[in-house]
Amino acid sequence: MARVVVDVMLKPEILDPQGQAVQRALPRLGFEGIADVRQGKRFELDVAEPVTDEALARIRELAETFLANTVIEHYTVRVEEAEGAEGAGAGAAA
């Protein structure tokens, strides 16, 4: 079972009210030094077969036509290798 991750974010020129609301709350929580916050969507697709180039191309098409609204959003598609392998991540306590 492989996992493909599609990240969908509002285009930079589009207003992101959610990200803004988060950013404006930060000083109140005592957080400084964060210049900008953008909030987007993350889709985790569990794919039954190995992810061939062709499968990836189809998922990219899915992202383009369905997962993202390309009028206002852009997206990235990537295959996620082993779970949790990428960097400083830490799952939260249960």
Binding site: I14, P17, K41, V71
Partner: protein, 776 residues
Amino acid sequence: MTPSTQSEPRTAPAPRTALDTVKHAAGTPGADQPWAELGLKQDEYERIREILGRRPTGAELAMYSVMWSEHCSYKSSKVHLKQFGEKAPGQPENTAMLVGIGENAGVVDIGQDYAVTFKVESHNHPSYVEPYQGAATGIGGIVRDILAMGARPVAVMDPLRFGAADHPDTRRVLPGVVAGIGGYGNCLGLPNIGGEVVFDDCYQGNPLVNALCVGVMKHEDIHLAQASGTGNKVILYGARTGGDGIGGVSVLASETFEEEGPAKRPAVQVGDPFQEKLLIECTLEIFREKLVAGIQDLGGAGLSCATSELASAGSGGMRVELDTVPLRDSSLSPEEILMSESQERMCAVVEPGKVDRFLEICEKWDVIATVIGEVTEGERLEIYWHGEQIVDVPPRTVAHEGPVYHRPYERPSWQDALQADDAAALPRPGTGEELRAATLALLSSPNQAAKSWITDQYDRYVLGNTVLAQPEDGGMIRVDEETGLGVALATDGNGRYAKLDPYAGAQLALAESYRNVAATGARPLAVTDCLNFGSPEDPSAMWQFAEACRGLADACRELGTPVTGGNVSLYNQTGDTAIHPTPVVGVLGVIDDVSRRTPVAFAEQGQLLYLLGDTREELGGSAWSQVAHGHLGGLPPAVDLDRERLLAEILIAASRDGMIDAAHDLSDGGLIQALAESCLKGGNGARVVVPDGLSPFVFLFSESQGRALVAVPRSEEVRFNDMCGARGLPVARIGVVDGDEIEIQGQFGVSLRELREAHEGTLPALFAGDAERAGA
């Protein structure tokens, strides 16, 4: 702590090279300018040069191009709209119209020192491109218009038109539009009290999203959009300015999609209803402390519109330092800042001594506010960018003296054939079984089916003053908790009727809306309209528009209900094919005591059913002809405005004196539609007798106007009959509220359960369970 509102402005960077200043423009008369790309015609460009005595700067060109677009200047429609003011001026014998056409919205006196402002506007093209945000920002825009008059917005409505209900693109557009209207209106805390949903192939590539807002204020609180008083400060407050919808006004609203093609999608605006909620509360607090001399919302054409309209309506000039405008994107050019349609912004003119308090209130509400300029002595609108003058224009020439076109119009060649194609020739149901089947087919058709799948996504309770909300003939809002004073509103527009005869179609739209308001027990007072038509460059569409304006203005005069404001949306077409002409008419009524309102539901068994008005064989443009035969032809039902007025008087008197417990106006779908809706809403059946001399089919399905169905308590029967008789309104007792089925005696019966399944199942089956766009 909350971020300070006045500090940390992300303002514009130092000028880049090649700033097109006024001085530079004067010295380079031959420079090439993209006037055509901006949607200006050659002669319009020449006129700008003439007005200025030189070529415009880039910033000036941007301003003129958006403000002279069809959407902002009404250049094709103006000459026809004039009739509204001329034929039904609204004073003094009619409605006390306190503010008329020309301001953000009209204002009407409803007594007890209260005034009401209301207006309907279109957001058609943006909603096709991006349904959720297009519809959401449509609500946001109309709410700011109402707010700018000094009123607290108290309710919204949403007249909608979509393509075929089962078309795949409708499954993209409708759920997004509905979610957008709900998402914005719900978050703003405005009850949605009504609207329309109509499906027709003609709207497939061009849905209509109209939005209405109504607001309430005391007389003394009326505010106007004008900049007066030399030295007064111009304050921009609300959201930061970003690159949203730049050129959206001219590109989105004035050009057809065909020309643009789907590839060159214009930037759309994203709404932030939370920001708008803060803007509303902040602005109302500013009004309460009497801190503004003039105010204007920012909508289409953004700052270009707000500054030029404020300056044009005021007594002096205005000077604006554009580089003080707080930005979301610091790379914006001055032209872009002037054209940006970023949402949730307002512009106020404030006396210097009141500026500090103004800013304080903004800070309280976390609203960014910035002094961007001041009212000057001269008569020019001057805009500076880092100290350099980039705009120097007479503001009236931008805002109010745009081009005026007398577009050619001509009755289409196909109109005669269309009218000759009489619906009377269509095969009709004859037996009781056939009538039963026709009834179920009608009530389950997308246009005639229950709309609760849509309206259940709208909050109708918030603010606690909703007395009637959909499904009712009109929405009703309590204005004063002590006295029970309230207003009722309805919007209507039948594009099929208007296609058959645009003059009559516009009158029928008004008649229906007027009748709906009267059915609630309220007295109709005033009108707002949104005129959705095809391209004004097409003489046929222009003829439809001219006829509709003439018809509406004539009808307003006869009914004594002036048009107080509205909106025109042209270029609603796909390729060469225009939508049906669709005049949407909103009527506002007043009721002294909302506890007297009349609902549509038949709540009590045993009450008597009376049909008011005359039933003739009128099937042209009817819902039956569409559902049973996919037919559109013949003439629409006859208009009789005297009859409408009489019917309204009876409905209002009967409500005031407690003679009726339920009323439902008859419109598309005819008697059977009204009967079914009132029975289903009340959970009670009815036994109905076909009057002598009428065929059961005509009785049930004809769409003759000037009719209503009412439920009369037995104790009131004599009094009610006497009143109708005395006033000369034909009435017929047709049955009684009874049992749990609708029985048309001698013809057929259908249980409420079966009827309910047919009526309420259609929209969920079409739209529920669809993942709209993922995660919308």
